[in-house]
Amino acid sequence: MTGQYIIRRLLIMLPVLLGVSLIIFIMVRIIPGDPSMVMAGPHATKDQVEQIRTQLGLDRHPVSQYFIFIGNLFRGDLGTSTRTSLPVTKEIMARLPNTLLLALASILIATVLGVLTGIIAGVKQNSKFDYLSMLVALFGLSMPVFWLGLMLMLLFSIHLGWLPAVGAESFKHLILPAITLGANSMAIIARMTRSSMLEVIRLDYIRTARAKGLKEKLVISRHALKNALIPVVTVIGLQTGTLLGGAVLTEIVFAWPGVGRLLVEAILARDYPVVQGVVLLVATMFIFVNLVVDILYAYLDPRIRYQ
């Protein structure tokens, strides 16, 4: 069942990705500015610009341009950076591990701490812990990534000198960016877990579990938790998507050499093949995260699994 389900979901991904590639293709072409002119520079002659246009394949009909783009895509060829003349895949691959590391660390921190906080706050409703953690979560929600990053840097790097401010040389460099990027999601996950827990704990089957004589710990961990986590998984998935966006800001604040910074550099230099490649990559990751969420869902909820 599960294997079939995953294969089916993977097959659905294909048309979605094709759609995404089409949108990106059109978007890049709508943005004002002619890449061949940018590449040729301000002093180039008309002939030189035309030559570059031919080189880039921009003289062909848009439809055939798209098919060439797709054809290349299937061969794993995203084109060449107009800025560095390196293959786009190479440019991305050089930065991708950094971004993945940052995103993974952030969502891990956000999930583990968020879920734990949410459970405790929910089970001990109206306790000091509950009030305090939800107050902190409220801060986490309203804090812009940019500002939080700068504040953390100010406190821990400049003032206390405990952690490095910028760069990506060691594990220590990862800590502040990961917290910055994950803070928002952590707050949202904690609040969601708490309210979900509060809802589940009032349900009839929890009373049944207590009536059996189960210890409260077992009532929570075995009977309440799995049910309470079902909506949380969706939120975690959505947060992972949002986080990919937040990564751009975080990478700039902490000079983290990831895909987000690459994107900004590429946009500033009108390096369209790179922009196209990065956006496509982020979209793919987003779709993939959704797939993982759906699989997790099916694992948690047998009612979905047996449909």
Binding site: R202, L203, D204, Y205, R207, T208, A209, R210, A211, K212, G213, L214, K215, L218, R222, H223, K226, N227, I230, L300, D301, P302, R303, Y306
Partner: protein
């Protein structure tokens, strides 16, 4: 003789924004070993709350047991520690709940849910538990137990889920089973089958039963004794056939007239009792049935009637003697 369960002046309240709801307002009764008792009354009269109070399963807040005793096997369940009451729950006293659709956990297999009580109270290992659960499933009449044991609740019909609940409740061979309207959510033919199953199994195992229902017509067939509740109090109790045939409280009379009787051919229409149950936050000072009673006298609005003996083991709380 010592009773298995003796409830004495039990009181449970809910503190709500509108005021204090006296859901159970001082009820008392005894149950002997192996005896079956029916607890009947209209919706909202406090049947479930009184049952949940026995096992201290009232959610706090807003609910609280404010007084009385629940003496079971010589111990007051309202005084013992959390650990001790947990050892009673599901082990010595088990409960079947009103809503078979929502009372089982949707994400756990029924095998696990039935086996849990065995694991914690009997300390059985995984394999022994599984064998025992299979035996229980067979006992409550679930076909093909080997195939069904790893299924989830949503894969069962309402009636079958309630059988799962019965298996769960009887797993540790409790001394007392509290069945809270075990059949409200299933259709009539299945209701009868379920009640037969409960009756068969408990009489075979010697389990005492409190059967909660609002259907007086059904209950008389399955229990020895019967207690009728109104507005948080017991207003009549006695041997089931006696109460059924010679009701002595106007409310019981009305209740009997409002449900189909299984023992006599229907003569006339079913007459529902006029009026609404009283507001449990603002109970009248005298008899709580006063506003709806067709036998009311002036003194009923001032004096609260206590239970008094009206026949052999037969009690009624009414100021007027309806005769027998």
């Amino acid at each position: 003789m010592n009773s298995l369960l003796r409830v004495e002046d039990l009181k449970t309240c809910f503190y709500t924004d509108a005021g204090m709801v006296k859901a159970v307002d001082g009820i008392s009764y005894d149950i002997q070993e192996g005896e079956t008792m029916g607890l009947v009354g209209e919706s909202g009269c406090g049947k479930s709350v009184s049952a949940l109070s026995i096992l201290r399963l009232i959610p706090y807040p807003p609910g609280k047991i404010t007084g009385g005793k629940v003496v079971f096997e010589g111990k007051d369940l309202l005084q013992i520690s959390e650990d001790e009451i947990r050892d009673v729950r599901g082990n010595r006293i088990a409960m079947i709940f009103q809503e078979p659709m929502t009372s089982l956990n949707p994400v756990l297999t029924i095998g696990l849910q039935i086996g849990e009580a065995l694991e914690i109270h009997r300390g059985l290992k995984r394999k022994e538990t599984r064998d025992e659960v299979l035996k229980l499933l067979r006992m409550v009449g679930i076909p093909d137990p080997e195939r069904r044991i790893d299924d989830y609740p949503h894969q069962f019909s309402g009636g079958m889920r309630q059988r799962v609940m019965i298996a769960m409740a009887l797993s540790c061979n409790p001394k007392l089973l509290i069945a809270d309207e075990p059949t409200t959510a299933v259709d009539v033919t299945i209701q009868a089958q379920l009640l037969e199953t409960i009756k068969d199994l408990t009489s075979r195992l010697g389990t005492a039963v409190i059967l909660i229902t609002h259907n007086l017509g059904v209950v008389a067939r399955y229990v020895n004794r019967m207690a009728v509740m109104y507005a948080g109090r017991i207003i009549e109790s006695g041997p089931a056939t006696e109460v059924y045939e010679h009701p002595r409280h106007p409310y019981t009379v009305g209740l009997l007239a409002s449900v189909p009787r299984l023992d006599k051919p229907r003569v006339g229409r079913l007459v529902p009792i006029d009026g609404q149950p009283p507001d449990l936050i603002r109970l009248p000072p005298g008899c709580s049935f006063f506003p709806r009673c067709s036998h009311r006298m002036q003194q009923c609005s001032m004096e609260r009637p206590e239970l008094r003996i009206v026949g052999a083991g037969h009690l009624a709380a009414c100021l007027k003697d309806l005769g027998s």
